[in-house]
């Protein structure tokens, strides 16, 4: 059984409108090329889950009208400033925002990974975040008879995780190194789609140096080769972000018209022709 697909287009067809889609932050593994395909496919009503935050790919999907809900600890594009299309969508009420905090998102995914309904998390009590969340409740530590409140967050089981990784092998095992939040995402999701930078000759699981940082093909639904697949953001240990292009994006995405120009120049139909 080969999980490998010939092209990214076929991979992206496995994402449907309305899916809960988990994505990684800019410093982790962003499948930017696949996201451009996704925009071309005109998917709608995505529920994005930033694990635990999202950057450029989130901003582009929101700006393209693919997103109805954003669940995240932050939408951040780091040193570049505020995420322009996200900020605009919030002002207009164009997306539903589910504000969270990093460890609660990790905990929700870990609960799904373990097949349990919720996970207790420290802190949070007294934060206004809690008032807006029906999927977070205050319980009491059952091992403590005293008043000992603790927040419990509901499990997060995404329909799809979409990531970009430095290496994958022919068996469909995917190497993510120390960026193990992507392993939790894959374990917690019903479907995991991966684009990868380079093919690893041999089996990643047979090399003990690589196996600890490898997501087993057990959790991988399909994958496709994508050279420079994280561009214009960087890929850890592989290449840095394209600073010039990201600045261009920020400049153009400041307005709705500018963003549409960006899409027509760099996204729409560009990748499909490959």
């Amino acid at each position: 059984m080969s999980l490998h697909l010939d092209n990214i287009n076929t991979l992206i067809e496995l994402i449907d409108s309305g899916n809960k889609l988990a994505l990684a932050p800019d410093y982790s593994g962003c499948a930017m090329k696949a996201v451009r395909y996704l925009i071309n496919h005109k998917v709608r009503d995505l529920h994005l889950v930033g694990v635990p935050s999202i950057g450029f790919q989130g901003d582009m999907l929101i700006g393209s009208g693919c997103v109805s809900t954003v669940e995240t600890a932050a939408v951040t594009i780091g040193e570049y400033g505020l995420a322009p299309r996200f900020t605009d969508a919030i002002k207009k009420g164009a997306v539903n925002i589910i504000d969270g905090t990093c460890p609660a998102i990790h905990a929700g995914l870990q609960a799904a990974e373990k097949g349990i309904p919720y996970m207790p998390v420290r802190g949070i009590i007294g934060s206004d975040l809690l008032k807006k969340r029906e999927d977070w409740i205050i319980g009491n530590n059952p091992f403590d008879k005293e008043d000992s409140p603790l927040v419990m967050v509901k499990a997060i089981a995404p329909d799809v995780t979409l990531i970009h990784a430095p290496l994958a092998d022919r068996e469909g095992n995917v190497w993510i190194g120390v960026r193990r939040e992507m392993m939790v995402m894959a374990h917690a999701s019903k479907t995991t789609l991966v684009t990868y930078e380079n093919l690893y000759e041999g089996n990643l699981l047979n090399d003990t140096n690589m196996a600890a940082g490898t997501i087993s093909s057990l959790y991988i639904s399909a994958l496709a080769l994508a050279k420079n697949g994280a561009w214009p953001v960087g890929l850890f240990g592989t290449y840095p972000a394209d600073d010039t292009h990201l600045r261009l994006y920020i400049e153009m995405a400041r307005t709705e018209d500018g963003f549409q120009n960006y899409l027509s120049q760099y996204v729409l139909d560009k990748e499909i022709k490959e």
Binding site: A73, A74, G78, D99, T101, P103, H106, V121, S127
Partner: protein, 243 residues
């Protein structure tokens, strides 16, 4: 001897002094000045201080992905962390979400990140915001991402320690639940700080000046620290440390 230094260098040196004697400092997202301060403190500690910087490959020993920082903090393995805020109030509540009615904020910030958790668990949380104006330092934040103080039944080994701005240093008094002005940066006055601070705070009769960085400290900042921080914050390093 009168040493020339940039405002950022004074803040980096001031924050680094607050980290003296600690074992492990973690740095979150979008924190070039705290990151520089931690790297300076590490250089001065002669290897005793460990720095874990989010987004760095060189200055980050976490091997368990995004969760390890939080697990580490909950176990008490992180001594200091930094938080900012689009708004900070006199009770040390911080707002990283937005201004005005939620959710359709008039001005939307990136989001709460790990603040609603780390503020409870890390013993020495240093609030840092370079902009010191009434729009940032407000009487009451519009949205509490993380509260400054908690009721006694809430598990909270951590919390606010100080607030460092471009004008001065405040220390947070946990018992009183309010800030105390510790020092004014060189070139800034109490009248100016009074006018530019939207919340009330305690102050001593004679207000000390924030100590200026020594020549040796400046040399460390412009050399080793500038080089180390540029891996994670190239734009910041270029802007502040390039001649």
């Amino acid at each position: 001897m009168n040493i020339q230094f940039k405002p950022e260098e004074l803040i980096i040196s001031t924050i680094a002094d607050m980290l003296e004697g600690l074992s492990h400092v973690a740095i979150g997202a979008s924190s070039p000045i705290p990151g520089s301060a931690a790297l300076l403190a590490r250089a001065k500690s002669k290897g005793k201080l460990r720095v874990s910087m989010l987004g760095s490959e060189e200055h980050n020993a976490f091997t368990n992905g995004g969760t390890e920082l939080f697990d580490c903090a909950a176990q008490g393995r992180i001594d200091a962390f930094f938080l900012g805020g689009g708004q900070i109030d006199g009770r040390a509540n911080i707002n990283l979400v937005g201004i005005g009615e939620y959710p359709r904020s008039k001005a939307r910030f990136p989001g709460s990140f790990g603040s609603a958790y780390l503020y409870f668990l890390v013993p020495r949380v240093i609030l840092f915001r370079e902009e010191h104006t009434p729009r940032v330092l407000v009487p009451k934040v519009d949205f509490i991402s993380a509260p400054g103080i908690s009721a006694e039944n809430i598990y909270r080994p951590g919390g606010p320690y100080a607030l460092v701005t471009g004008r001065c240093v405040f220390i947070f008094n946990k018992k009183l639940g309010s800030f105390f002005l510790k020092s004014l940066h060189p070139g800034h006055t109490i009248e100016e700080v009074d006018e530019m601070t939207g919340f009330t705070y305690e102050k001593p009769i004679n207000i000390p000046q924030t100590p200026k960085p020594s020549a040796a400290t400046i040399e460390l900042i412009r050399g080793l620290v500038a080089d180390e921080v540029s891996e994670t914050y190239p734009a910041f390093a270029e802007r502040v440390f390039a001649n």
